[in-house]
C-alpha cells in the first residue's frame, strides 16, 4: 500500500478529481444497498398479503431513481478516477521521454532497448493501474463491503450476518494463494513464450542460412517442440486459473447454505421475516466482489509499486554530462588539440586510451587507423563529449570542449557513426534531420556531395521515399551515404566519419572523398577507416594500437618509417603491389 503514499504528490495534484471521484463512489456503494432491501420489503408485504399499489409504486420509484442516479454517478467517478490515472501515465511518459533525451551514451550502453521500452510501456501501465483501478478497488471494496455488511447486520440480523461471514475469509485466502501460485507459473509460461519468440526471430534472421543448408523441415520440428513447451507451461497456468471460479462458487454456495439453514431457523422463531431472508441472500451476492477485489488490490498494488520504483530509479539517474556554469554560448571554431593522458570506460578497469596526443589545424584532414578495439572510436566519442571522466585536455579553438555549451559543440560537429542509424521518415527528412527547415536545393546538394542523389532519384518516390524499419529497404552503402549527407547538411566546422565508408565500393569512396576535399576547404575533417585508401590523402594519419598512438605522420612519412602503418599497407596490397603491381605501372 506504500505506493499510494509514494504517488501522494499526484493525488495531491489532482485532489479535486480524486475527492469527487471517491465521494461519488461512496454514494454509489450506499445506493447499492437499496435493491436487496427493497426486494425484502416487497416480498414481506406480498407474503403477508398486505401489499398496496401505493407501497409498491413508492419503492419501485425509489429503485428506479437510485438506478438512474447510480448510472450517472458511476459514469462520473470513472471519468474522475480513471481519467486522472491516464493523466498520470501521460505525464510520467513525458517525463521519461524528456529524461531519455538527456541521458548520455554510457546510460544507453548499460541498458538494453527492450528494457527501456518495458519501463515506458509495461511499468507505466502498472502505475496507471494503481492510480486508477487500484484506487477504485481500495475504496469501492471497503465501501461496498462495509455498507453491505452494515445493512445485513443492522436491517436484518447481526447474528446471522456473523455466521454467514465465517467462510468468506477462506475465499480471500484461497484466491490470494491461487494468485501467487499463478504468478509463478505465469512467469514460466512467459519465459517459454519469449523463448518461442527468440526462436522465431532467429529463424527469420537466419533464413538464408537455413535455406542454404536445406534445413527448413528440421527447423519447423525445433519450433514444434518449443511451441509444445509453451502449451505445457500454459496448461500449468490453466490448472490454477480454472480453480478460481469453482472455489468462489463453492464458498458462496456454503454461505447460501448457512444463510438459508440458519435463516429459516430465525424465520421460524420469528426473529426474521421471509422477506428478510430473501434480502439477505441478495446481499450475500453483493459481497463476492469486495472479497475478490481485495485479492486483486494486493496484486495491482504490488505490481504498481515495483513498476513505480523502477520508473523512479530511471528518472533519478543523473544527467551526467551537463553544461558548466558560464559555458560559452558560441560555436567552437579553429584548431583541435587532443592531449589525453588516460581514459577508461565506466565498468572497465583497462584504459581505453592512454597518451593520445595530436594537433589538427583548422581545414586539415586527420586519418585515424588501427585494428578494432584499438581506440579509434573512443577518440571520436571523447571529441563528441560523450564522456568526461578522462585526464588530459581536448581543445577546440583554443578552449576546452567542456567550456562550450554541449549544444553548441554538437552543432559544430557533423558526426557519421559506424552503425548508421536512420529514422523511419522520408529520405529527405533523414538528410535534413539536423535542419528540418532546409530547402529542397540544400538537401539535394548534400545528397550530391555524398553521392547518393542518383540512387535516391531511382527510389520509387525519390526523396519522399520512407525509410523502412531501421532502413530495411536500403543497402548498407546507401545508408552510409545518407548518413554522410545528413552530417553534411549542417556544414559542420568538424566532420567526423567513423568508418563510414566501409560498405561503399572503392569508386564511390574515392568520389565522396574528392567532393569533401573540394567543398570543405576551410573546415576540419576526421576520418577513421579500416581501409587505408580512405585516409591515405589525409594531412595527418594517427595509427592507433592498443589504446595509444603507435605512429603519427602523413602517408609518405609513415611509409618511409616502415612501421605498423607500412605493414598494414603492405598487407592490404601485398599481392597487387609486390607481385604484379610493378607490371601494370
Amino acid at each position: 500500500m506504500r505506493v499510494f503514499l509514494e504517488l501522494g504528490w499526484f493525488f495531491k495534484e489532482r485532489k479535486k478529481q480524486y475527492a469527487i471521484g471517491i465521494f461519488l463512489l461512496m454514494i454509489v456503494a450506499l445506493l447499492g444497498v437499496l435493491p436487496p432491501r427493497i426486494i425484502g420489503f416487497v416480498v414481506d408485504e406480498i407474503s403477508r398479503g398486505t401489499l398496496t399499489p401505493a407501497y409498491l409504486m413508492t419503492w419501485l420509484g425509489v429503485l428506479a431513481a437510485s438506478a438512474l442516479i447510480m448510472y450517472v454517478l458511476r459514469y462520473a467517478w470513472r471519468l474522475m478516477i480513471f481519467g486522472s490515472s491516464i493523466v498520470l501515465a501521460r505525464n510520467l511518459r513525458r517525463q521519461l521521454f524528456n529524461h531519455f533525451t538527456q541521458m548520455s551514451p554510457s546510460f544507453y550502453q548499460k541498458r538494453r532497448v527492450g528494457d527501456l521500452m518495458a519501463h515506458a510501456t509495461n511499468d507505466l501501465q502498472a502505475v496507471q493501474m494503481t492510480a486508477g483501478a487500484g484506487v477504485l478497488t481500495l475504496f469501492d471494496s471497503l465501501a461496498t463491503g462495509g455498507f453491505v455488511i452494515a445493512a445485513m447486520a443492522i436491517t436484518i440480523d447481526w447474528k446471522l450476518t456473523l455466521i454467514v461471514l465465517i467462510p468468506l475469509p477462506l475465499m480471500a485466502y484461497l484466491t490470494n494463494y491461487y494468485g501467487r501460485l499463478m504468478h509463478l507459473r505465469f512467469h514460466d509460461a512467459q519465459a517459454a513464450f519469449s523463448g518461442l519468440n527468440d526462436k522465431t526471430q532467429e529463424s527469420i534472421s537466419g533464413m538464408k542460412v537455413i535455406k542454404t543448408f536445406g534445413q527448413e523441415k528440421e527447423d519447423v520440428e525445433d519450433f514444434r517442440a518449443l511451441s509444445k513447451r509453451v502449451v505445457d507451461e500454459n496448461i500449468r497456468v490453466a490448472r490454477v486459473d480454472s480453480l478460481f471460479d469453482p472455489t468462489i462458487s463453492a464458498i458462496i454456495g456454503i454461505c447460501y447454505f448457512l444463510a438459508i439453514g440458519f435463516g429459516s431457523y430465525f424465520v421460524v422463531n420469528g426473529d426474521m421475516t421471509i422477506g428478510d431472508l430473501v434480502a439477505f441472500t441478495a446481499y450475500l451476492g453483493l459481497l463476492v466482489w469486495p472479497m475478490l477485489a481485495f485479492g486483486w488490490l494486493f496484486n495491482i498494488v504490488e505490481r504498481g509499486r515495483a513498476s513505480y520504483d523502477r520508473i523512479r530509479n530511471l528518472l533519478a539517474e543523473p544527467v551526467d554530462i551537463d553544461d558548466r556554469k558560464g559555458a560559452l554560448d558560441i560555436h567552437p571554431e579553429g584548431d583541435i588539440v587532443f592531449s589525453l593522458e588516460e581514459f577508461k570506460f565506466t565498468d572497465d578497469d583497462r584504459a581505453a586510451l592512454r597518451d593520445v596526443r595530436f594537433k589538427l589545424k583548422r581545414g586539415e584532414t586527420l586519418g585515424i587507423v588501427g585494428k578494432t578495439g584499438s581506440g579509434k572510436s573512443a577518440i571520436l566519442r571523447l571529441l563528441l563529449r560523450e564522456f568526461e571522466n578522462y585526464s588530459g585536455e581536448i581543445l577546440f579553438g583554443g578552449r576546452s570542449i567542456s567550456d562550450y555549451k554541449k549544444k553548441k559543440l554538437r552543432e559544430a560537429i557533423g558526426y557519421v557513426p559506424q552503425d548508421h542509424f536512420l529514422f523511419s521518415t522520408t529520405v529527405a527528412g533523414n538528410i535534413a534531420f539536423a535542419r528540418p527547415e532546409a530547402t529542397e536545393e540544400e538537401i539535394h546538394q548534400a545528397a550530391q556531395l555524398a553521392h547518393i542523389h542518383q540512387d535516391i532519384l531511382n527510389f520509387t518516390e525519390g526523396y519522399n521515399t520512407v525509410v523502412g524499419e531501421r532502413g530495411v529497404s536500403l543497402s548498407g552503402g546507401q545508408k552510409q551515404r545518407i548518413s554522410i549527407a545528413r552530417a553534411l547538411m549542417m556544414r559542420p566546422e568538424l566532420l567526423i566519419l567513423d568508418d563510414s565508408l566501409s560498405a561503399v565500393d572503392a569508386k564511390t569512396e574515392e568520389a565522396i572523398l574528392e567532393s569533401l576535399k573540394r567543398t570543405r576547404t576551410g573546415e576540419t575533417t576526421i576520418i577513421t577507416s579500416h581501409r587505408l585508401s580512405a585516409i591515405q590523402h589525409a594531412h595527418q594519419i594517427v595509427v592507433m594500437d592498443a589504446g595509444t598512438v603507435a605512429e603519427i605522420g602523413s602517408h609518405d612519412e609513415l611509409m618511409k618509417k616502415k612501421g605498423i602503418y607500412y605493414e598494414m599497407y603492405e598487407l592490404q596490397q601485398l599481392e597487387e603491389l609486390v607481385e604484379q603491381g610493378g607490371e601494370t605501372q
Binding site: I39, L63, T101, F193, T212, F223, V231, F433, E576
Partner: protein, 594 residues
C-alpha cells in the same frame, strides 16, 4: 508495433471469424467433452435455486419441517454444489487446453508457411513484423479464445439454462423477461460499434507512441549528436497528447455503455420482477420461493454478460490479429519450386545462359548474363554496389525464381534438381556470417545429428578455426549467444566456413565473404578460402580484387551487365573498368585520369 492497423469492415471481420472457427474442427472431441461438462455445470447452477425455492415454498412458508424430506433437500443441494465445483473445474480446464492446442497448431502452420516463403517476401517484410505474426498475433487470438469465446459460450449456455428454469417456474414472467435480451443485444451492438472505432484508434496511438520511444532510444546518439532533443520532445508530446485524448474517449464510452449500463438494465429487470409479482399478488397468492428463484436467476444472468462485454475489445484485437495471420498464410510469394527429378550434381559445372532478372518486374537488375564455371574453377564477380553480383548468387542459390534464360548445373536445369540435392552440393558463405543460439558445435553441425564429432573437428581444422576454438573455455561446447556477438567478425566468418566445409559441398558460393574484416584476420581467412576452393567450383563476390586474382574467370559487372570478362592479367591489360577499379583500390589515383 508501428504497423498500420488494418481497416476491417463488419463483413471482413465475420469472414475472418468463420475462418478462425475452422481451426476448432480438429479438436471437436475435446471441445465436445468440454461442452458436455459445461451443460452439466449450467444444470447445477440452475438446479441450486430451484431446490431452495422448493424448500421455501414447501416447508419454510408453511412452517413445518419433516426431517426426511428437508435433509434430502439439504443433501441434494450440497451434492449439486460439490459436483458442480469439480465439473466446472474440468470444464474450464478443458476449454483452455483446447484453446492452447488450437493456437499451437496455428503457430506451427504459420511458421511452416514462413519457412516456405521466398526471399522476395523477406526483402519487403521487416523481420519484426513476421515474428509478430507467428507469436504475438497468435497470442492475441489465444486470448480471444480463452477469455471471450469461452466466456461467450458459457454465458449463452447459462442464459439458456436460466430461461428454461424461468419458463418452468412461470411462463408469463419468463416471457416478459425475454424483453431483456434485445435490450442487452442493443447495448452490446452500440458498444461494439463505437468502441471498435475508439479502441482501434487508441491501439494505433499506442503503437505510434511505442514506435517513437523505441526509435528515439535506439537513435538517441544521433538525436543528441545533431542537437534535436527539443524537436523530438515536441514530436513525442504531440503523440502522447493524442494518445491521452484517445484514452479519455475510451473511458467515456466504457463508462456510458459497459458496467454502468448493464447495471441499469439489471435494476430495470428487478423492477419488472417486483411489479409483476406485486401486481399479480393483488388478485392471487404468490409463492415467495418463486420470487427468490427469479431474483437469484436474474442476478446470475448478468454477471457473465458484464464480463463478456468488458472483454469485447480483446475480440476486436484478435480479429485484426487473425486477419494479419491469415494474410501471411495466404501469401503467394513462395520459395521457387523444384522438380523431383533424381538428377545428381557430380562435377559442378555451372552455366548461366542469357539470364535476365528483375526483383520487382520492372527494373532489370541482370541483363542477359551468360558464363560458364568449369568444374573446380573459380569465377569471381566484381563490380560497383548494385551491379548485380549478389543477384547472380541469389538466382544460383534458388532464393529467387528467374523467368528469362536458364541456369544449368552439369547440363541440367537448376530448377530440375531436388531441393535436397542442391542444398547438399552447394555451400554458401554469407557476407554477414549468421550464428545461431547454441554452441560452437551446434553451429557447425546445424541440424545434422548423424555428423560425427570428428567431422566437425576436421571441418574446424580445415578452415583454421580450431585454434581459437581451442582457446575458448569450453572448446566446442562454448555457448554462442546473441548472434555470436562475443566473437569477432573474423571468427564468425571462420565458423561459417567450418559449417560449410562440414557439409562438404561440391560448389562453393561466397557472397562478399571477405569484406569488412581486419587485415590480420583476413590472412587466416584467405588461406582457408584458398584451401576450400581447391577441387570445388567456386562463385565468389569480392570487394577487394586482391582476393580473386587467381580466379580462372573474372566477370566485371556494371548495371546488371557483364562488361568485361577474363583473367586478372587479361583484364589489367585491357585497361578497362577492372583496371580502373584495381588502381583505385591500390590508391594509385593519379593514374586514373590518364
Amino acid at each position: 508495433m508501428n504497423e498500420k492497423q488494418k481497416e476491417l469492415t463488419g463483413r471482413d471481420q465475420w469472414v475472418v471469424f468463420k475462418r478462425l472457427l475452422v481451426y476448432l474442427i480438429p479438436h471437436k472431441k475435446m471441445l465436445s467433452v468440454a461442452m458436455l461438462l459445461l451443460v452439466l455445470t449450467v444444470l447445477g447452477d440452475v438446479l441450486g435455486p430451484l431446490i431452495i425455492k422448493t424448500f421455501i415454498d414447501g416447508y419454510l412458508t408453511p412452517g413445518n419441517f419433516p426431517t426426511g424430506p428437508v435433509t434430502g433437500l439439504a443433501l441434494g443441494y450440497l451434492f449439486i454444489q460439490v459436483s458442480n465445483v469439480i465439473i466446472s473445474y474440468f470444464q474450464l480446464l478443458k476449454f483452455q487446453e483446447a484453446a492452447l492446442k488450437i493456437i499451437q497448431q496455428m503457430r506451427i502452420d504459420v511458421f511452416t508457411k514462413v519457412q516456405g516463403l521466398g526471399m522476395r517476401y523477406f526483402d519487403r517484410t521487416p523481420a519484426g513484423g513476421i515474428v509478430s505474426r507467428v507469436t504475438n498475433d497468435t497470442e492475441a487470438i489465444k486470448e480471444m479464445f480463452v477469455t471471450v469465446l469461452i466466456g461467450f459460450i458459457q454465458s449463452i449456455f447459462l442464459i439458456i439454462g436460466v430461461y428454461i428454469a424461468m419458463f418452468f417456474l412461470n411462463v408469463r414472467l419468463a416471457l416478459i423477461t425475454l424483453i431483456l435480451l434485445p435490450i442487452l443485444f442493443w447495448i452490446m451492438y452500440i458498444y461494439r460499434k463505437y468502441s471498435s472505432i475508439f479502441y482501434q484508434d487508441l491501439r494505433e496511438r499506442l503503437g505510434q507512441l511505442n514506435a517513437k520511444i523505441s526509435e528515439s532510444v535506439q537513435g538517441m546518439g544521433m538525436i543528441q549528436a545533431f542537437s534535436q532533443e527539443g524537436r523530438m520532445q515536441d514530436e513525442f508530446n504531440e503523440i502522447n497528447e493524442k494518445h491521452w485524448k484517445a484514452g479519455k474517449r475510451n473511458i467515456k464510452i466504457d463508462g456510458l455503455l459497459l458496467r454502468p449500463a448493464i447495471d441499469l438494465v439489471y435494476t430495470l429487470a428487478l423492477i419488472m420482477l417486483l411489479s409483476y409479482f406485486g401486481i399479480t399478488s393483488f388478485n392471487s397468492t404468490i409463492e415467495v420461493g418463486v420470487i427468490y428463484a427469479f431474483v437469484t436467476y436474474i442476478d446470475r444472468f448478468f454477471e457473465p454478460i458484464n464480463q463478456v462485454m468488458q472483454r469485447l475489445s480483446i475480440f476486436q484485437q484478435a480479429i485484426v490479429a487473425a486477419s494479419r495471420v491469415f494474410d501471411l498464410l495466404d501469401e503467394k510469394d513462395e520459395a521457387p519450386a523444384q522438380k523431383e527429378a533424381a538428377a545428381e550434381i557430380t562435377e559442378g559445372r555451372i552455366e548461366f545462359r542469357n539470364v535476365s532478372f528483375s526483383y520487382d518486374g520492372q527494373a532489370e537488375v541482370l541483363k542477359n548474363i551468360s558464363f560458364t564455371a568449369e568444374p573446380g574453377n573459380t569465377v569471381a564477380l566484381v563490380g560497383h554496389t548494385g551491379s548485380g553480383k549478389s543477384s547472380i548468387i541469389n538466382l544460383l542459390m534458388r532464393f529467387y525464381e528467374y523467368e528469362k534464360g536458364d541456369i544449368l548445373i552439369d547440363g541440367v536445369k537448376v530448377k530440375n534438381y531436388r531441393s535436397s540435392e542442391l542444398r547438399r552440393k552447394m555451400g554458401l558463405v554469407l557476407q554477414d556470417p549468421f550464428l545461431f543460439y547454441g554452441t560452437i558445435e551446434s553451429n557447425i553441425r546445424l541440424y545434422n545429428p548423424d555428423m560425427p564429432f570428428s567431422g566437425i573437428r576436421a571441418a574446424a581444422e580445415f578452415v583454421q578455426a580450431d585454434k581459437f576454438i581451442a582457446q575458448l573455455p569450453d572448446g566446442y561446447d562454448h555457448k554462442v549467444t546473441e548472434r555470436g556477438s562475443t566473437f569477432s567478425s573474423g571468427q564468425r566468418q571462420l565458423l561459417a566456413f567450418a559449417r560449410t566445409m562440414a557439409a562438404d559441398p561440391k560448389i562453393l558460393v561466397l557472397d562478399e565473404a571477405t569484406a569488412n574484416i581486419d587485415t590480420e584476420t583476413e590472412v587466416a581467412i584467405q588461406t582457408s578460402l584458398e584451401r576450400m576452393r581447391k577441387g570445388r567450383t567456386t562463385i565468389a563476390i569480392a570487394h577487394r580484387l586482391s582476393t580473386i586474382q587467381d580466379a580462372e574467370l573474372i566477370l566485371v559487372l556494371h548495371q546488371g551487365e557483364i562488361v568485361e570478362r577474363g583473367t586478372h592479367q587479361q583484364l589489367l591489360a585491357a585497361r578497362g573498368l577492372y583496371h580502373k577499379m584495381y588502381l583505385l583500390q591500390n590508391g594509385i589515383v593519379e593514374n586514373v585520369s590518364h
